[in-house]
Symmetry: C2
């Protein structure tokens, strides 16, 4: 085999999915993985639950550690190795061994880039104080947990009302902290329409989170290396710990000067087989852009599901198979205490920008038959194309049993189903699981009258 | 309007869905409903939960009572009126007023038949004893609950291991009875493949149900109008109460001699607009057959979801709209204590009968991320067409959060998705809801290797 040496940059979901897939298909191939941290294949999505102590040890979040990859899969994982640059002309990468401080060049025959994302860092002095934390790496999770354990902070400020911000609100509430959350827009969850985001804001207030909406971070008060207050354009909020949940962006700075083409929000452009524009170079996961199957635009969505799937397809492609990754529809789900929030497809503002003529409806139903114990409220909002009735997006907020219903809508979106198609679906029903008309069908029934 | 007088036979899900739809579209029309019981629009599926006292009063199971239909919807509901025969040549029906004993003929311009199903009754002496109960009507549910309350039976025998049998096992266990269940086949739940049925049998045993599999009912020991023991081909089982869960069949005996054509298992043949073979006569719900979208055969499936949907479409059709009901894929779900069982599509034995070349795979996964508290076991079995990989059926058994995943498979079946399509779906993931690969996708990944 001419192209024998596979080098993978990044040892989490996408990188190790790819490496493992190649190993299964090509048992004798040389595979080297450079990973900047000490960890491989861990669930970053599990970090809030480690911090809340729902998960007792961070080790439980690790699916396979470096030694397992080395010994059981014959994958040469090199931890504490940070890749500094890529030279695709000469098929080599420059690596910093963080343990020794040595820099060296490593050649490759095929290269897989899976460097993931990194938290947005605010452009204000004091962001690097000891009590300011992002939540993107296992290391950051361990640091937060240790800080809470050792310093016993009483008051927390979370900056940003996205998934991470909300999940961290739950975590810190469960650890007994008083939680304030500042959010630049007027509602949390900008992956929802504002009317649905408002329901989440209400739920957060009910849980005891002090919400400061429409307030942007403007600075930090820092004393002796610690932030003592978060400054917004309206006020100063005293705090003992700050969690940054301002979203993430692709970790692709090290590609500056390379010939690898970047697209949406600086993410690596890839085709449906996860090939970059450069021969013998693949990329997958949170460092790449995805094709949105509804808008047909290339978007940046950093999620574990996509990282695992694209990593697998990249591995297939590297191993010479023809599997493709068709794209995403933007499905996501989040739990905040007893509340579940789910979304898929496009938002109203996106449809307006795309000049798509749409209709919308929101219904309230129950997660179980109305008479069944612990039946909970569920709100479903659907967006559909005017005239055709094709589904364009769905948003769900409710309590236990609400969120996973989004999967039917995600399936519908992917295969261009109409509202009538959704009404016609033979969905499951028994009183402990659903009303006789599933809430997503009730929403479709309401909306179909306006197309 | 020439065809002005609509007569509906049967006042539950299908009949009242149709009547209500017609009323919405045609506010001034004369609508008469003949209902043999005292009740309209109740949830028959909720009866086991009334018996278990999860639902405190039977009134909670009633969505709308006759007075509401009369007063609020101007629908002339006549309870305790049993329809005895239909004369389509002269467009009239013969009715028995059970309160007065009078028989009379009622004319119609358009007729909607929604007489539902009735429990199979065993052909053995003593079936009409005071402690032998079916579970198809609200009246039967009220009778069972009253019997338990007044007579305090200690030992129950359930005949039949289908949905009703299993839900009643849960009910009676919760009421503190010792429950035995006899089932003619070697596993319970013949709507599952035997290997999946075996998992349900095991679960039942774990819950304390004494299972007698491969034993058919042969008779009853009756003393003073009460059954004291259930006789099988192997033994005699002493008992205080007997629940019949031997399935149901369409309530169409009264159509004998009429020109209305019957199909699968004596159910009324209907087209996609729920029209029978006779002009101006519609039928919907548990008295009709359905088109199975996977096998393309006409089948008899008695379920509340189908009754509601077909009732609505029949109402549309009667009101002159063009809505159609495309058919079913055989989705069903059932809860037995902490266990959830769901199925959709075809079974192995059905595929064999249809000479469809298929592959199968069964996987075990978790309902949440492996590290998340209360993550439960879930077993998913998929059947797909050899070569094409088109999904043909799915079965799920697990604990909390398992069953509703069947809806993605039901959607996939309806729209001819392949295993690769299922793998590619952008399903929702967060640790409280799912592993990063949803179990249905894990099953598809395993099975795709064998197509």
């Amino acid at each position: 085999m001419a192209n024998n040496k596979l080098v993978v940059i990044g040892g989490d979901a996408a990188g190790m999915s790819a490496a493992s897939k190649v190993r299964r298909e090509q048992p004798d191939r040389e595979i080297i993985v450079f990973e900047k941290s000490d960890f491989t294949s861990y669930s970053a999505c599990g970090i809030p639950y480690f911090i809340s102590e729902k998960v007792k040890t961070y080790q439980e979040l690790i699916v396979r550690d470096p030694d397992t990859f080395r010994n059981k899969y014959n994958i040469d994982v090199r931890t504490q190795n940070l890749v500094l640059s890529v030279d695709t002309d000469n098929k080599k990468i420059k690596v910093l061994n963080k343990k020794t401080g040595d820099e060296f060049w490593e050649s490759y025959d095929q290269l897989m880039i899976a460097t993931g994302g990194k938290a947005f860092c605010p452009d204000v002095a004091g962001y690097d104080s000891e009590n300011v934390f992002g939540v993107t790496t296992l290391k950051s999770g361990i640091n937060i947990e240790r800080y809470i354990e050792e310093k016993k902070p009483q008051n927390a400020v979370i900056v940003g009302g996205g998934y991470i911000g909300l999940e961290m609100a739950e975590s810190l509430l469960e650890r007994g902290l008083k939680v304030s959350l500042i959010n630049r827009s007027e509602q949390v969850m900008n992956t929802l329409d504002p009317d649905m985001g408002a329901l989440v804001s209400e739920a957060l207030k009910g849980l005891g989170v002090e919400l400061f909406l429409g307030e942007g971070l403007t600075g930090f008060d820092v004393k002796e290396g610690k932030v003592t207050a978060v400054l917004t354009d309206k006020q100063s909020i005293p705090t003992d710990i700050i969690i940054l949940g301002m979203g993430s962006h692709p970790n692709t700075d090290f590609l500056e000067g390379s010939k690898i083409e970047l697209g949406a929000r600086g993410a690596i452009k890839v085709d449906s087989q996860l090939r970059t524009n450069i021969p013998d170079v693949w990329a997958a996961g949170d460092c790449t852009e995805s094709l949105h199957l509804v808008s047909k635009e290339h978007v940046y969505i950093a999620l574990g599901t996509i990282a695992n799937k694209t990593g697998l397809v990249a591995g297939s492609s590297i191993a010479g198979e023809k599997t493709v990754f068709p794209g995403v529809v933007g499905t996501a789900v989040c739990k905040i205490c007893s509340y579940e929030v789910a979304r898929t497809g496009l938002l109203e503002k996106q449809l307006q920008k795309l000049n798509i003529d749409y209709v919308k409806a929101t219904i309230e139903s129950r997660t179980r038959a109305h008479y069944y114990p612990n039946s909970k409220k569920i709100v479903v909002k659907l967006l559909a194309e005017k005239n055709s009735g094709r589904l364009l997006g769905g948003q769900i907020i409710g309590e236990e049993g609400a969120a996973k219903r989004i999967d039917v809508l995600a399936t519908a979106l992917t295969h261009n189903l109409t509202l009538q198609n959704i009404i016609d679906l033979d969905l499951s029903y028994a009183p402990p699981f659903s009303p006789v008309w599933d809430p997503v069908q009730t929403a479709a029934r309401k909306l179909i009258s306006s197309i």
